[in-house]
């Protein structure tokens, strides 16, 4: 099947493979980022100020240095320390740590948004600290921060484009490769733009709708 010029079905499939690569990097990075983010977020929310601020300052570094440079440095570590991780792993871990810096703030503000009065009421009923956390604080906090978390996940998906710089073939790199063969940049970039849009827009809309629904309550 031919889509105008010499852009073939095979080329399109190549792009889709790139899209799958983008999605898998996103999923792994978001997983790493969320786990670390929840961990650090809970630690920050529940610790004395000097622990919380120290962790905060360290994570702040990851939000104040360009992601591109973090990828280069991490890749550099990989060869310096002779770890020999595949670049896919380097990309995912780097993005994951980057995401965790933002996720920590999200978790921290979510926990902080649960009213103290509600938490005290739960403890007065006899719930232990762990029970209260599980049945009261976390469910409420999750509802409050879910839209921000979706925003973060979509942000990571868009940031995966940068991993092409360390050699991973994700969607944008796939577009570059196809363009070098087919020489129709505008067509290919339109297709790729559409793919990105379709990966992002529906989820963003869903997040907005959930935010509206849950904030009324």
């Amino acid at each position: 099947m031919y889509f105008g010029g010499s852009f073939t079905w095979d080329d399109f499939q190549f792009l889709l493979v790139g899209a799958v690569s983008t999605i898998s990097i996103t999923l792994v990075s978001v997983l790493i980022g969320t786990c670390l983010g929840v961990l650090f977020g809970l630690i920050r929310a529940g610790s004395p100020w000097w622990i919380s601020n120290t962790i905060g300052a360290i994570l702040d570094v990851f939000r104040s240095v360009p992601l591109l440079i973090q990828l280069v440095l991490f890749n550099s570590f990989n060869s310096m320390l002779k770890l020999n991780w595949p670049t896919f792993a380097v990309g995912c871990v780097c993005l994951g740590v980057y995401a965790s810096a933002f996720c920590t703030e999200i978790v921290r503000s979510g926990v902080g948004a649960v009213p103290q009065t509600t938490r005290r009421a739960a403890r007065s009923l006899g719930l232990t600290w762990a029970q209260e956390l599980r049945s009261i604080t976390l469910p409420i906090a999750v509802r409050i921060v879910f839209p921000s978390w979706i925003g973060l996940a979509l942000g990571v998906m868009k940031d995966t484009a940068l991993v092409l710089w360390i050699g991973i073939v994700e969607l944008l790199r796939s577009a570059q490769i196809v363009t070098s063969r087919v020489q129709e940049p505008l067509l290919i970039l339109s297709v790729v733009g559409l793919i990105y849009f379709l990966m992002s827009f529906p989820i963003a809309r869903l997040g907005a709708r959930l935010e509206a629904k849950w904030s009324v309550k």
């Binding site: 360009p66 591109l68 310096m80 868009k158 484009a161 944008l172 940049p185 970039l189 790729v192 733009g193």
Partner: protein, 220 residues
Amino acid sequence: MDYHFQWRPVLRSLPEMLGGALVTMEIAAIAMLLGTVLAIFLALCKRSGKRYLALPADVWIETARNTPALFQIYTLYFGLGSLGLQFSSFAALLFGITFNNAGYLAETFRGGFEAVPETQIKAARSLGMSSPQAMCYIVIPQMLRAVFHAMTNQMVWSILMSSMGVIVGLNSDLTGVTQQLNVITYRTFEYFFVAACLYYLVSKALTSSARLLAWRLFRY
């Protein structure tokens, strides 16, 4: 670890890198300024209720927010060549970041407008102020407080994301300069580490000044 750190060549190149940092700040500042003006325009288009204004504004905003910034820069650099528009790396980076800023800030400003209670406009009009007067003296000053934090974040983002210029061949901003030095000497870690420190210092300087400015402007 067999790697031997060599910091001296990096420190010798510091002036060059600082020059790059200056270019980075220029790009971010221009992209922020242009982006803000465009964002106000887009926000007003959306509020106007007229379809021929709101629809293109929506397309711009949703494209900017749902595709990667690198993709936007890349499209400007490579994609528009076939239409006869040849963008330099500098222009592609600048307009790419501007396009992106405008999209995100338009949403921020829309929220900012809605944060000012309508009763403020009522009170201003009751004193005889015209609509533009009410907008200028009452709504926008209050809106500024609501959007200040988001605008600061967008500015920091602009500085950090300008690093993507190197991917489309820019060699005059901080990352571009660093990469030039890197390919000559292959001291990747040292050069990029120093670049990272410079970006960190610039980000922190920006957020501190913003906090100071906010403290002075919004003392009420």
